[in-house]
């Protein structure tokens, strides 16, 4: 019962504002003198037009299955053994911030990161939780909501030779929803860490050259025109075809996926695994103007064997190559590389999964689904680094203060990307649906 803070005279001011002001006073995250007045000003700014957003692109590292917050960004060294788990925290250059010892590289760049430790959601089933975290909306039987990348693809500048929404190497089920399949992510397939990696069907079929591809396009337009004659709302041309056409006829587009063009030192820095090389590919794509890239990293649904899955990777490993060390290398390389190229200020990087894991370790030595509190890490896009937002309680079971919902996170991400969260999207039958509904911006990040 730590949060018996009494209040009532400030009813017009939301509780969150109070908690924030309170926590700033008592914990002091080093944000400088953010006063109550500033909090009010911030709110007014969000209600009106957006300040010029710095981010031009977003890389989402999707840690599929729900990473354990306790073994990554929210260790609980003081908790009982069955909660604490097998690993210890490590200090970082920012005093007061400790993360798991499995993340040494990440620890060294914590000054560039903002860690939200008080994410909370009611949804503990993978499908429902994925949907909520990837769209900011809880799923509904009447409407399929679009995921972040699809909204960016829809509202951002028109796609060039490369699609605006790319998933490496695969995508989780949630795509464009009501925005239509042309905003679904383009899935690269394959394994970027393999020497023979290439995007499927990007090269011409033997015997079919570019002039024939152009002719096919011309012929196809004939059929489209015939279709428009009988169907009032038929689109002029199939957007998926047009995008495919632009890609296969562009040498630059094909080169974007060619990781062998990267110096060996850079490739090595991202690590030999699929996740690291996927992060590198994400950087190449963002560098070439793709506004949204997601990297899928599977396996975080660790119901059993935390040590094996999270640290070791295989039985008897001398150097851990499990989920967390692999993430540590790829993620830290990505942040440093973006930073050194001067791209970090313009690129929002988000690393998250659909929920956290149960505080108590189960009988199989793993942790089960736990959406009530979990962590999300963000960097770039002008986000002040070296900060922790919110906290979980003593055993990592519930938010201790400053609860942040996936809807709040969505509003923050859209705001950082310069997309007004109240902007209305139209469904196929003309219904307006705002980009985000009901979320509150995480003020410390914007």
């Amino acid at each position: 019962m730590s949060a018996l803070s009494l209040r009532s005279d400030v009813r017009r001011l939301s509780r969150r504002d109070c908690v924030k002001v309170g926590s700033l006073a008592t914990v002091g995250y080093g944000l400088g003198g953010l006063s109550l007045i500033d909090a009010w000003r911030g709110r007014a700014a969000a209600a009106g037009t957006l300040a010029a957003a710095k981010a031009k692109a977003c890389i989402l590292l999707w840690l599929d299955g729900g990473p354990s917050h306790l073994e990554t960004f929210d260790p609980k060294p003081e908790a009982p053994a069955e909660v604490r788990g097998p690993f210890r925290p490590m200090r970082t250059p920012i005093s007061g911030i400790e993360i798991s010892e499995l993340l040494p590289r990440t620890a060294s760049i914590v000054d560039k990161l903002a860690i939200v430790r008080s994410m909370t959601s009611p949804l503990g089933e993978h499908g429902l939780a994925n949907h909520y975290l990837m769209t900011g909306y809880q799923s509904s039987p009447v409407l399929q909501y679009p995921s972040y990348g699809s909204v960016v693809s829809h509202l951002g500048p028109p796609a060039t030779q490369l699609p605006s929404h790319i998933a490496i190497p695969e995508s989780r089920a949630f795509g464009a929803g009501f925005l239509g399949s042309e905003h679904d992510p383009f899935v690269t397939g394959g394994d970027p860490s393999k020497a023979d990696f290439q995007v499927r069907d990007l090269d011409f079929f033997p015997g079919v050259d570019e002039s024939r591809i152009r002719r096919r396009r011309e012929y196809l337009a004939e059929f489209d025109a015939m279709q428009s004659a009988i169907e009032a709302r038929a689109p002029a041309a199939d957007p998926a075809f047009e995008q495919a056409f632009r890609m296969v006829t562009s040498a630059q587009a094909k080169a974007a996926f060619d990781l062998s063009a990267e110096p060996a030192s850079i490739r090595a820095r991202y690590g030999p695994k699929m996740f690291g090389q996927s992060c590198l590919l994400a950087r190449r794509l963002v560098e070439r103007g793709v506004p949204f890239v997601s990297v899928l990293n599977v396996g975080w649904d660790t119901h059993t064997g935390l040590v094996l899955q999270l640290r070791d990777g295989f039985a008897g490993a001398k150097v851990g190559v499990g989920l967390v060390p692999t993430f540590d290398q790829g993620f830290s390389a990505l942040i440093e590389d973006l930073d050194q190229r001067g791209m970090l200020e313009e690129t929002l990087v988000v690393a998250m999964g659909e929920f956290g894991r149960t505080p108590k370790i189960n009988t199989g030595g793993g942790r089960d689904h736990w959406p009530r509190v979990f962590s999300v890490v963000m960097a770039g896009a002008g986000i002040p680094g070296g900060q922790v937002i919110g906290a979980s309680d003593r055993v990592g079971e519930s938010p201790r203060d400053r609860p942040v919902t996936p809807s709040d996170l969505a509003r923050t991400i859209y705001t950082l990307l310069g997309i007004h969260p109240d902007r209305e999207l139209l469904t196929s039958d003309g219904r307006p649906v705002s980009v985000n509904q009901g979320g509150k911006v995480i003020r410390e990040l914007v």
Binding site: M1, A3, L4, S5, L6, R7, S8, D9, R11, R15, P122, P141, V142, L143, E170, S171, G175, A176, S181, E182, D184, P185, F186, V187, G189, R200, D201, L202, F204, F205, G207, R212, R216, Y219, L220, E222, F223, D224, M226, Q227, I230, E231, A232, R233, A234, D238, A240, F241, Q243, A244, F245, M247, V248, R372, S398, P403, D429, G430, R431, V433
Partner: protein, 730 residues
């Protein structure tokens, strides 16, 4: 924690901030305080189950996202939406050392102070201190917070239950009335939870006044205690009526559809031409394009019953059996098991035989539910092998036979449906003793624990009765499920068949039938189910009936007034060909088959009923792996990879260049461009090009000096196979 320290906490919790006291004194009329002070006797004490719980439900306290979560919230655990009043009373009055109610100072009770915002509350302020809910809770605590008589709700009614209006702006006050088993009838409007299925279409304000924002048909669910009632809203699409009295009607299907069109004021598109209808019905019933020769005969047939004859011949064809075996396999999630290819083969072969013999689906169901034996010999014994355990078995039974997503009821009673945890685990218990190895048999060991009781679950027909735990309860479950008076399975099945024919179910999604997700045409769904049962649960019968309706025969022409219709069948809806059907259609038009490892050359894609048979093309086109649920089909990887594959991959390109292709043969036979265009149009689209279309193509295909005629013709066929008229059923 010792006594002294927790008293300390209580005292701290109970002392309000001085400002809070001032605030309250200023905002409360003294007379109210006086009234409250005077009411000390036990008169009119609220009944906990039926008067207090609704306050909590209405305030959202016991919702799944708050204290109603399986694990509760902030150590305060309520049953989801008040399903377990005894436990909730215990949690409020006795748990947490009784601090949630404070008899000495009732208004300081945590159950009031937290939700009303006096004390910090993770769920924000949800209870207005000046509102009737706060008052009712306060009075109840003052009178000792009793459980009460535990009376039961016997009737819950909403007025209006259905509202039709021409006016979008007209506010409609809603009223909810409850009757209890002690004879009391009460207005419970303010304690009813209103939930629009589409919150952009209908909104309901604090005073339970509804406003409709969009034309069309909408549903709002009303919840009070354990009853959930749908309320229907209709605002016609246009202001003028349409007269359908002269519209042809084949049977009850057309009657029902036209009734709705009349009500919604949607104009009906004209009938489709013979060639459009033939292509549509052949694709829907057999998964194939009509042969050009069949189309010719059909076009020249002048008899009035030619469509009936055509449907009869389609549903009697081997292609029908192939295609519907695939559909059934998808619904049943048939897939091969690791190192046991025989199982899926035997299962598929059995399924095919049932469809070939037009065995009633009640008989099929019975075999699926009760079969035992060697699953490499007995096909239906594989039904329960497609899932991991008895809970998976129960969920598959739920989806396939009951059209219900029982999964929710694993951890708590289904919030929108009538299924309880006892139902879920009871159904799982029916299959608990089933051995799922190669030899499927009913064993003697195995139980499912009901997390509500902590005891082994009692086998149960969900929503109906317990079956006891002596012996094999599957037969009894099957008997109940297939009894002709039980329409559940029939309703679910005809809804799936309707979806297969129209691209949309009368209820969507097709595995989520419940009172709170009503059909667009509820009466029609019942009539189809009745008709299905009366005709021996025959797949062919119902499909033929739908195919012969005038509704099915409508064209896709978009009229001024029906462009926005996506569910009332005022016109035909365009829908993509299923992956397997598209792959076969490409093979048929090019004359070059796909190749599947382990299958003889010429095997059609629709015959590949095991979705784990490797095929990159089918995966890219959106084949469902069936490891998860695939009622609606599934898209893998989006439209762009599929498009790249069509452009640069081998699915079409290999076939175009093949020496044995249709195109190669036509060229070798010395056919002209006109003949080749004509031939491919008829094969792919089911009709000849118009003369202006033909002229256009002849102009485009006219050779220039430098280039290759064959390549031009290949590119023509490629574009035809990528055109919407080809890739869609319409």
């Amino acid at each position: 924690m010792n006594l002294a320290s927790w008293i300390g906490v209580v005292v701290l919790a109970a002392i309000p901030h001085p400002d809070a006291l001032a605030d309250r004194a200023a905002s409360r009329p003294v007379s109210v305080e006086g009234t409250r002070a005077g009411r000390t006797g036990p008169q009119q004490t609220a009944d906990f189950d039926t008067e207090i719980l609704p306050v909590l439900t209405r305030s959202g306290c016991n919702a799944g996202a708050c204290h109603g979560a399986a694990a509760g919230r902030g150590d305060f655990n309520l049953s989801l939406l008040g399903a377990d009043p005894a436990a909730d009373h215990e949690a409020i009055v006795h748990h947490f050392e009784g601090r949630r109610v404070d008899f000495a100072r009732p208004e300081r009770s945590l159950i009031l102070a937290k939700p009303s915002g006096d004390l910090d509350h993770g769920g924000d302020v949800v209870l207005d201190q000046d509102g009737p809910g706060f008052q009712r809770l306060l009075d109840w605590i003052r009178s000792g917070a009793p459980r009460g008589a535990s009376r039961k709700l016997v009737r819950f009614e909403i007025t209006p239950r259905r509202h039709r209006s021409d006016d979008l702006t007209e506010p409609v006050p809603l009223r909810a009335e409850a009757e209890f088993d002690d004879g009391v009838v009460a207005d419970v409007t303010r304690w009813t939870v209103w939930t629009p299925l589409d919150s952009a279409a209908v909104t309901i304000d604090e005073r339970s006044v509804a406003r409709v924002h969009r034309r069309g048909q909408h549903v709002v669910t009303a919840r009070f205690l354990d009853r959930v009632v749908p309320v229907e809203w209709i605002v016609p699409f246009s202001d003028s009526d349409f007269d359908f009295s002269l519209e042809p009607r084949a049977d009850f299907i057309d009657d029902a559809i036209l009734r709705t069109l009349t009500e919604l004021r949607l104009p009906a598109s004209p009938p489709a031409s013979d060639s459009v209808w033939l292509r549509r019905v052949t694709l829907d019933l057999t998964g194939r394009l009509p042969l050009a020769s069949v189309a010719d005969t059909f076009a020249s047939d002048g008899s009035t019953d030619k469509r009936a004859s055509m449907v009869e011949s389609l549903v009697s064809s081997p292609a029908f059996v192939d295609y519907w075996t695939l559909q059934m396999a998808r619904w049943l999630r048939l897939h091969s098991l690791t190192n046991e290819p025989e199982a899926a083969v035997v299962y598929g072969r059995w399924l095919r035989s049932q469809i070939a013999l037009d065995v009633g689906l009640d008989r099929v169901a019975e075999q699926l539910l009760t079969a035992t034996g060697d699953s490499h010999v007995v096909g239906p014994a594989n039904f329960g092998r497609m899932v991991a355990d008895s809970r998976g078995h129960a969920e598959l039974v739920g989806r396939f036979f009951l059209g219900a997503r029982l999964g929710c009821a694993n951890c708590h009673n289904h919030p929108l449906d009538r299924w309880t945890q006892d139902d879920y685990h009871g159904l799982a218990a029916v299959f608990a003793k089933l051995e799922r190895g190669r030899i499927v048999e009913y064993g003697t060991r195995g139980a499912v624990t009901n997390p509500r009781t902590g005891e082994p679950a009692v086998a149960r027909i969900p929503g109906v009765r317990d079956l006891g735990d002596d012996g094999d309860a599957r037969a009894e479950l099957s008997k109940w499920l297939t009894a002709s008076e039980n329409r559940l399975f029939a309703r679910v099945t005809v809804n799936r068949l309707w979806r297969a024919m129209f691209g949309r179910g009368l209820v969507e999604p097709t595995d989520d039938l419940r009172e709170t997700n009503p059909a667009t045409h509820p009466e029609l769904l019942e009539q189809l189910a009745d008709d299905f049962v009366q005709n021996g649960y025959s797949l062919r019968h119902t499909l033929a009936r739908i195919a012969l309706s005038h509704t099915y025969a409508r064209s896709g022409t978009v009229l001024e007034g029906n462009a926005g219709d996506d569910r009332f069948y005022s016109r035909a809806f365009r829908r993509p060909l299923p992956p397997e059907v598209l792959a076969d259609a490409i093979s048929d038009v090019t004359g070059v088959p796909d190749l599947y490892p382990g299958h003889p050359r010429g095997t059609r894609s629709v015959s590949i009923i095991d979705p784990l048979t490797p095929s990159r093309s089918l995966d890219l086109l959106g084949r469902c792996s069936r490891v998860a649920v695939c009622d609606e089909g599934a898209a893998n990887g989006g439209a762009l990879p599929a498009q790249l594959h069509l452009l640069n991959g081998d699915l079409i390109n290999r076939k175009l260049g093949d020496e044995s292709s249709q195109l190669s043969r036509l060229i070798a036979a010395g056919k002209t461009d006109a003949e080749i265009v004509e031939h491919h149009y008829r094969q792919a689209l089911g009709h000849s090009p118009t003369s202006s279309q033909l002229q256009r193509w002849l102009g485009l295909l006219a050779p220039s000096e430098s280039d290759d005629r064959r390549q031009r013709l290949e590119d023509f066929v490629w574009s035809l196979l990528n055109s919407r008229p080809f890739k869609e059923n319409h």
